[in-house]
């Protein structure tokens, strides 16, 4: 079953055209790697999926629904979550405020005034979620900015997983992590797949991409240039598709070594 289908997506910023008609499909429960050189348009494409940007033309469907007119909040409601490379955390707020930002559970104060945030409920559910991820945080009542990079990553992941998403987009989730932490993120992606959640993984670390994905889409000069089944491809082919011939073999040798 097709979960997400983009077709003919074009997007430009002023005079600069970034995407020239991208077709991109994600099946339900599939892990898709999205790779490409810097400036290939990966982040722009993802922001069009989450609704931060509007495409200039093209269609975007989630399940059977046309989601082009929906704002980011509505798309999150449908089950599209994104973990940004900069994590997009509110650093002066605590853990549960970040996890529930924009979707806070509310109750009536004294059974009269509606719209009050149920902070106790938020803290309880946040603690459960952090526990489930097997992570250790100093305190969920501390501001997120006081945490280490890995701990902040945990909060960002917990935020993405708390509302039973159908699709999780991860933008360079392992770029800033220590080796041990990288493995736990990759294991998490495998677990999401087992739970039937689709994942789009954007990464420059091709070893990571080759080890966890079902399919790899190569974005090049604003087009989906290649669509490779991970089991039937290798580092050489992926790298040559990214750089487009030329120095491909040298680049591939470098990646293999690293």
């Amino acid at each position: 079953m097709t979960l997400l289908a983009l077709s003919g997506i074009r997007k430009g910023f002023g005079a600069v055209a970034v995407l020239h008609g991208v077709d991109f499909v994600v099946e339900a429960g599939e892990v898709v790697g999205l790779v490409g050189d810097n400036g290939a348009g990966k982040s722009t494409l993802m922001k069009i999926i989450t609704g931060i940007y509007r495409a200039d033309s093209g269609t975007i469907a989630f399940g059977a629904q046309d989601i082009a007119p929906l704002d980011p909040g509505a798309r999150r409601q449908l089950g599209i979550e994104m973990i940004y490379q900069d994590l997009s955390l509110a650093r002066q707020q605590d853990v549960s405020s970040n996890i529930f930002l924009g979707r806070e559970p509310t109750r009536k104060l004294f059974g009269l005034f509606p719209g009050f945030i149920d902070k106790a409920e938020m803290d309880r559910r946040a603690a459960v979620m952090i526990e489930r991820l097997g992570a250790h945080l100093p305190s969920i009542n501390r501001s997120v900015g006081s945490f280490s990079g890995g701990q902040q990553q945990t909060v960002a992941i917990a935020r993405a997983l708390t509302f039973n998403p159908k699709l999780v987009i991860m933008d360079e989730p392992t770029a800033a992590l220590a080796v041990r932490e990288v493995q736990s993120v990759l294991e998490l992606i495998r677990r999401l797949k087992r739970e039937g959640i689709a994942v789009i993984l954007i990464s420059h670390r091709l070893n990571d991409v080759l080890s966890v994905t079902d399919r790899i889409v190569v974005l090049r000069h604003g087009r989906a240039d290649a669509n490779l089944v991970t089991a039937k491809t290798n580092m050489n082919e992926v790298v040559s598709r990214i750089v487009g011939g030329g120095d491909a073999s040298a680049a591939a040798a470098h990646e293999q070594g690293g």
């Binding site: 409601q77 997009s88 002066q92 930002l101 979707r103 104060l109 902070k119 501390r142």
Partner: protein, 330 residues
């Protein structure tokens, strides 16, 4: 126990706990107590119930403006037009009641609506025309003051109906009306900022606009509401002041934005947004009130008071920045 916490001293722990649970800065509370102690020693009149009410009465106008400043600065914005809009609101209310002969409640409502209108224009220009808040509200500072002078033809409007005067001078149960309205506003604002979606989203926007946007918060819409709210509160402050002095004075609220923003900042509002609490701002406003009241009791010229407030603002921001630098170095 976490070793990181164990290492830090008692003061740092207490500070962290107070900032994270009560959202106030402990220093501001200490400053308020020390300042009150010094004033009590210097003047025999300071420690009396009537002087306490005096301080609250003098703080009520500034306090309402400081609440507005807390919301806007907490969201990463800035409203320099608070004092001018307050002056405009008083003149509009007095003019509606005296010159147009409208009933008193309409006159009072006109103050708040005039303020809200000015704030609404601020919000529209900032979010739709993309002019920086600093420039828009600085422009509004001039526009609103000028309009107040035009409407009043540069003169003070006298002769308010008794009901309007009661809002400023009435004393049900011996407590001045402005104090009651100010405290009620503070309680509501405290609940809204601390415990509602609107309040938490306000601080989230000030903390990280990108995070708020990614979370689906409609940032521009929220900003427009915030500036309108700020204007409405400035209107409320203008209403209180007008009723208290029993006239619409076009020069009312001159330089009040300085005091209001100072109160919010020393109350723990982060100058760049993301952190702030009404409880802290109330402490800040009381520091301003005690400072002015004490200097008045000591018969210090008001020119020096202006200087003191300006110096306190710079000092408060310096301490804040110094602590931030120190923390990031650890």
């Amino acid at each position: 126990m976490n070793p990181e916490i164990a290492k830090s001293g008692y003061w740092a722990q207490a500070q962290r706990a107070s900032v994270e649970r009560l959202h106030i800065r402990l220093e501001s509370l200490v400053v308020l107590l020390v300042l009150s102690g010094v004033m009590a020693m210097l003047s025999p009149f300071f420690l009396s119930f009537s002087n306490f009410l005096n301080i609250l009465l003098a703080t009520s106008t500034i306090g309402v403006l400081a609440i507005a400043a807390t919301f806007v600065i907490g969201s990463g914005g800035l409203d320099l037009s608070l004092g001018s809009v307050m002056g405009l609101a008083g003149v509009v209310g007095a003019s509606v009641a005296v010159n147009l002969g409208a009933p008193a409640p309409i006159g009072l409502l006109a103050c708040i609506l005039a303020g809200a209108a000015a704030g609404y224009i601020n919000g529209q220009l900032i979010t739709r025309a993309m002019v920086p808040a600093f420039i828009v509200t600085l422009g509004m500072l001039g526009l609103a003051r000028g309009l107040a002078l035009v409407i009043s033809e540069g003169r003070v409007i006298y002769g308010l109906p008794p009901v309007m005067v009661y809002v400023g001078q009435g004393r049900p149960l011996g407590i001045p009306m402005p104090v009651i309205i100010f405290l009620a506003t503070a309680v509501i604002a405290h609940c809204v900022l601390g415990y509602t979606k609107f309040g938490r989203h306000t601080l989230a926007i000030g903390d990280s606009e990108a995070a708020a946007r990614a979370a689906g918060i409609r940032v521009e819409r929220q900003r427009r509401i915030l500036y309108t709210l700020s204007g409405a509160l400035a209107g409320l402050a203008g209403m209180l002041f007008m009723a208290r002095i029993n006239s619409g004075d076009p020069t009312a609220g001159l330089n009040y934005e300085l005091t209001a923003i100072t109160a919010a900042i020393i109350g723990g509002t982060n100058l760049f947004g993301g952190r702030g609490s009404i409880l802290g701002t109330m402490i800040g406003a009381l520091i301003m009130g005690v400072l002015q009241n004490g200097l008045n009791l000591l018969a210090v010229q008001s020119y020096y008071q202006q200087m003191a407030i300006g110096a306190v603002l710079i000092l408060a921001v310096f301490i804040d920045q110094y602590q931030l630098r120190k923390e990031s170095r650890v």
